[in-house]
């Protein structure tokens, strides 16, 4: 794997079951997701079935099985943002990009996520693209944000899948 020397990483951990989540976290932080090849090796190292690794991976929302897009669009649906129309913004972006929550556009540009609170409820509704938080969003301001990112990547309208 390009993103990680999986064998070296694995050997730093003990072979008990409690190593599973720390291992997966390290793999994800290096690769942005948990590649299937690494799952095979982790299962072998810990002496468990691959499907048991998948059980953990699919239980926790933090783990991803497919690579993350270049940009992550987080739309807050916490109480305040929800009251201020966060769901409408989410629905718009979901339709605009052609992906559901947790999915990545086919061109690998955007990953869409719904989050429960970004800690700035006074600015609701809130959208964060990568680490940049944008408050008081409307459908047209979100559309502008998406276009800016597409233009920066030279994608124009191709961001849509």
């Amino acid at each position: 794997m390009e993103c990680i020397d999986i064998d070296a990483l694995i050997e730093k951990h003990g072979r008990e079951r409690s190593s599973l989540i720390p291992l997966l976290q390290e793999i994800q932080s290096a690769c942005g997701y948990v590649p299937s090849e690494s799952i095979r090796k982790v299962a072998k190292w810990l002496g468990i079935f691959e499907v048991e690794v998948y059980e953990v991976l699919t239980f926790y929302a933090q783990f991803r099985l497919v690579p993350r897009g270049k940009h992550t669009v987080k739309i807050c649906l916490g109480t305040a943002c929800h009251m201020m129309g966060g769901q409408d913004i989410f629905n718009y972006v979901s339709q605009r990009l052609g992906v559901k929550a947790g999915e990545t556009t086919k061109d690998g540009m955007f990953t869409l996520e719904r989050v429960a609170c970004l800690g700035c409820c006074g600015m609701a509704p809130v959208v964060a693209i990568d680490d940049q938080v944008h408050g008081r969003q409307t459908i047209s301001s979100v559309e502008r944000l998406l276009r800016e990112h597409m233009a920066k990547e030279g994608k124009g309208e191709q961001g849509q899948t």
């Binding site: 079935f49 691959e50 499907v51 048991e52 998948y54 059980e55 699919t58 239980f59 099985l65």
Partner: protein
């Protein structure tokens, strides 16, 4: 280390249990019933369904008795009003997520006809065929729902039913997340194909996301289906009126002789070749012959075909029959000699099998045969490149060596004569030896010969001059054998003339394939109309056929196409369109409309007292394995006639029974894709000019690799939960309703 005993009081009953016992098991020991759903006696407890909750004095709240270990002095209440009410609420919540809840709670449920629904419940949300045996249903009946609450309203979880996996129907909407299937797959079987994927409302028991069962390492043992209490996992197979095991382990029941196929295939996979041979020997005295020429109905029934090719069961049998040491002989039993003398007419597979078992039961047996050597069709009807003479001779001699008298070149024409000679019972097993004729002009020409006579002359070692170009009429095994023999006798041009297409040929597919490889050609959809002969060749006038509607055999009826006549010239024409019996008048037994001997199907008794009949003379031309099955049945019936119990079954090895095995099967990556091991064969160019055996059989490595492919369909019965045992009755009653 001594066992520590604990005193426990459950519902006022005091019992002593060893340390480590759960409250559930302690209660069962005390004869107290606690309802359970996710609990399974052969799996570790989960505590997921929460129906087995109890109250314990000194402990707050409710506790799942399946996971709660007993402690000394513990006082448990399993049936308080609180517990009962809590169980009902648990069930109410469970049913709010369960599609069939409408049916489970329906007022009409006890008299439902499964056809119409008064409440317009969509078909996919109705109860499945398990009905009487549904564990969830019986729990609803036992526990009931809380009073004062409305019926739970079903919220559809939105899973698409999965119908394109082999053997298993999956409806995740019906999954109650009890974890039985997962524990069966991971902890009991050691396969690890499925687990809990995702969480909350979208969680399901299955392979990793976007993975098919075939790619998950699944071994398709179907134990998951067996333990599923809710109908989320169901067998695809249709049960109709069959007993459950017959539908789920079809290979075993396809064998006319009842050989325990999954048991010996499993033993081969484990390298226990002697035991595998012993399992065969429990039912048949001709494993080496069968390993070469059996029609293998077991393979045609094999459930692995749903994944890829069936298990090569015949070749596995051949491997152990040829190579394993006969340790079964140590356990083979003989009863003390009896006074009664049995005459058997015909030394074919039926007659010799009956002779073998009757001799073991202590009878004095004499076998009569009109030919020079014993074996019947196995000796005179099958060419040596399929069944070498010495292989047959070995097995026949082993039977005869038990002290069976054989009188060859003796044609019996009269049963009374046998009784006058002092025999107490007679078995007629003379086979179907008369070739059926085409019934067309010119058939009497000396260059026209029937297939049976042709093979018989060859097997008697006679010279046969057939010329260079040979036509063979027919599509059965005799026709294919005759065509391949013709090549071996030097013919350059061998053409099979068949009135239907290759797909309808009754011959074994592998034999047809081998004939084509060797250079036999097939002219399909033709029938001979007349034969015009001159001194050293014949011309056959043929008419083209087309296929029409199915006839009584279920195959499409061939219909002549007017005006399509054409001619082909041959040096010899072999006619192999079927056989019929020739029954001497002196037998004095009733015949069927087809001219076969009429018997009682359960005993093989003929219309005459103490006269039995079996094999092709009763069945019409059939197979070695069916003849052997009849031989067994005849031996058993004759024993009963003379006051015996008719039991000829033997247990020649203790190995391989599922009841004595661990649950563990283990994981094999890409199991679903393991391909059938092909036997080594002589090259067509080499074999087509000699009579050497074509198939070379498996090596030990090949045999093990092939046997490992077996799905072991019978292993699921190790984990049958009690309610499913009622399934047989349920299937019968529901299939008669539907």
């Amino acid at each position: 280390m001594s066992i520590r005993w604990l005193n426990v009081t459950i519902d006022g009953v005091q019992i002593k249990v060893p340390d480590g016992t759960t409250v559930l098991l302690a209660a069962r020991q005390a004869g107290i019933r606690i309802p359970t759903l996710c609990y399974h006696p052969r799996l570790s407890p989960t505590g997921a369904c929460r129906l087995c909750i109890v109250e314990v004095e000194g402990m707050k709240g409710f506790h799942t008795s399946c996971t709660l270990p007993c402690s000394d002095g513990m006082v448990v209440h399993t049936n308080t009003a609180n517990v009962r009410s809590m169980r009902q609420h648990v069930l109410w919540l469970l049913l709010s997520d369960y599609p069939c809840s409408e049916c489970l709670l329906c007022d009409e449920r006890s008299k439902c006809d499964f056809k119409s629904c008064k409440h317009d419940v969509p078909v996919e949300w109705r109860c499945c065929y398990k009905w009487e045996a549904c564990e969830l249903r019986s729990i609803v009946e036992e526990v009931g729902l809380p009073e004062g609450l409305p019926k739970p309203e079903y919220i559809h979880r939105g899973f698409e039913p999965i119908e394109d996996e082999p053997l298993i129907l999956i409806d995740r909407n019906k999954c109650i997340l009890c974890e039985r299937c997962i524990k069966a797959c991971q902890e009991a079987r050691g396969i690890g194909a499925i687990g809990f994927i995702f969480r909350g409302h979208s969680s399901f028991a299955g392979p990793p996301p976007n993975t098919r069962l075939e790619d998950s390492g699944c071994r398709f043992c179907c134990t998951c289906v067996e333990v599923c209490p809710s109908g989320a996992l169901l067998d695809k197979v249709s049960f109709d009126d069959k007993p459950r095991e017959k539908a789920l382990v079809p290979c075993k029941y396809a064998c006319p002789a009842g050989i325990d196929v999954p048991r010996y295939v499993r033993l081969i996979a484990e390298g226990k070749f002697e035991d595998a041979l012993a399992v065969n020997r429990e039912k048949v005295p001709f494993p080496r012959v069968l390993g070469r020429v059996c029609m293998h109905p077991c393979e045609d029934a094999c459930r692995r075909q749903e994944l890829n090719e069936p298990i090569a069961i015949r070749l596995l049998k051949r491997f152990v029959a040829d190579n394993a040491k006969p340790t079964w002989k140590e356990r083979s039993t003989f009863k003390p000699p009896k006074e009664k003398r049995i005459a058997i007419i015909g030394a074919g597979p039926a007659g010799l099998t009956a002779a073998y078992y009757l001799r073991k039961l202590g009878y004095s047996v004499t076998v009569f045969d009109e030919n020079d050597e014993p074996g019947g069709m196995m000796r005179y009807g099958i060419p040596h490149y399929r069944l070498p003479k010495d292989v047959l001779a070995d097995e026949v001699n082993e039977i005869l060596s038990l002290g069976i008298e054989l009188r060859t070149q003796t044609s019996v024409e009269n049963i009374d004569w046998l009784f006058s000679q002092g025999f107490d019972a007679v078995l007629i097993a003379i086979g179907a030896q008369r070739a059926i004729k085409l019934g067309i002009d010119g058939e009497e020409h000396r260059r026209v010969i029937d297939g049976l006579t042709f093979l018989k002359l060859l097997n008697m070692g006679k010279e046969i001059a057939i010329g260079r170009s040979v036509g063979v009429v027919g599509g059965g095994n005799v026709a294919i054998d005759a065509s391949r023999v013709a090549l071996r006798l030097g013919a350059d041009n061998v053409t099979i003339l068949y009135r239907r297409t290759r797909n309808e040929m009754p011959a074994l597919d592998e034999e047809v394939e081998a004939a084509l490889e060797e250079g036999v050609s097939i002219e399909q959809l033709v029938a001979p109309k007349r034969i015009i002969g001159d001194d050293d060749s014949i011309t056959v006038e043929l008419i083209r056929m087309r296929l029409g509607a199915p006839d009584e055999s279920g195959r499409p009826r061939p219909i002549p196409i007017e005006g399509s006549e054409f001619k082909l010239r041959f040096d010899t024409l072999i006619v192999a369109i079927g056989q019929a019996p020739r029954i001497p008048d002196g037998f004095g037994v009733e015949l069927t409309r087809r001219g076969l001997i009429a018997v009682n199907g359960e005993t093989l008794q003929t219309s005459r007292d103490r006269v039995f009949a079996g094999g092709d003379i009763v069945l019409g031309p059939s197979s070695v394995i069916e003849a052997i099955a009849h031989g067994r049945l005849a031996a058993s019936s004759i024993d009963k006639l003379f006051g015996g119990d008719g039991d000829i079954d033997e247990e020649l090895t203790e190995e391989g029974f599922i009841g004595k095995r661990s649950l563990w099967m283990g994981r094999i990556d890409e199991f679903a894709y393991l391909g059938r091991v092909k036997p080594r064969k002589l090259e067509p160019s080499v074999r087509r000019r000699n009579f050497d055996e074509v198939e070379l059989g498996f090596t030990a490595e090949e045999a093990v690799a092939e046997a490992i492919r077996c799905l072991q369909c019978d292993m699921r019965f190790q984990m049958t939960p009690t309610p499913i045992m009622k399934l047989e009755a349920a299937l019968r009653s529901s299939s008669s309703k539907r």
